[in-house]
Amino acid sequence: MEGDPHPVTGMVFDLRELKEILNQEVVEPMDHRFLNREVQPFDRIVPTVENIAAEIWRRLEERIKRQHPSVRLTNVRLYETSDLYVDAGGGA
């Protein structure tokens, strides 16, 4: 995420709130789930690490834009193994 530190708290984003957002949007719906059957949209598209990273990006980006217009989500990095990861970003 990217933004100016809040003039009072000195934080770009409240980490407790970020943790809550990640729990609600990503961890709770996806953790210990069979992605193909239990998590949308992977009933329709293949749950590759690319598609999962893109879906996490969409969920977070939409919510952060709505609740915190001054902060920008810049990148979501999803590791599949320690030797393979995907970056989903808002770039070109």
Binding site: T48, E50, A54, R58, D83, L84, V86
Partner: protein, 137 residues
Amino acid sequence: MNLRLTRRYRFAASHRLHAESLSEQENRRLYGKCNNPYGHGHDYVLDVTVEGPPGASGLVADRAALDGLVRQRVLSRLDHMNLNEDLPEFRTTVPTTENLASLVKKMLLDHWNLPARLARLRISETDRNAFELEIAP
């Protein structure tokens, strides 16, 4: 949205940093112990980043095709090699990891056959040294 996939590879190689155009004394001063006559080794870590749309397969790049290309064009030529002696490319340039990154870029781009674009290379020489090469579209 922009998607980039990064895959990590490892290889071991040795090198000696010594510029032919400089005197023995200048080489020692510039490269320090990296100029010792018989070289030294590194466990290099190479991160290859490709960029592109995931398409219907959901894959930015086919893993087997990427691994095959990197193994054939890069790892088979670098792994367990003496970079100064075994690579003709380093007869005239010093095998610093900066130059190694450029060589890896050339090794890959000369034979690139994947639909995704090569976007970035990163080679770390030790835990404290890494070199990144961003490849313009």
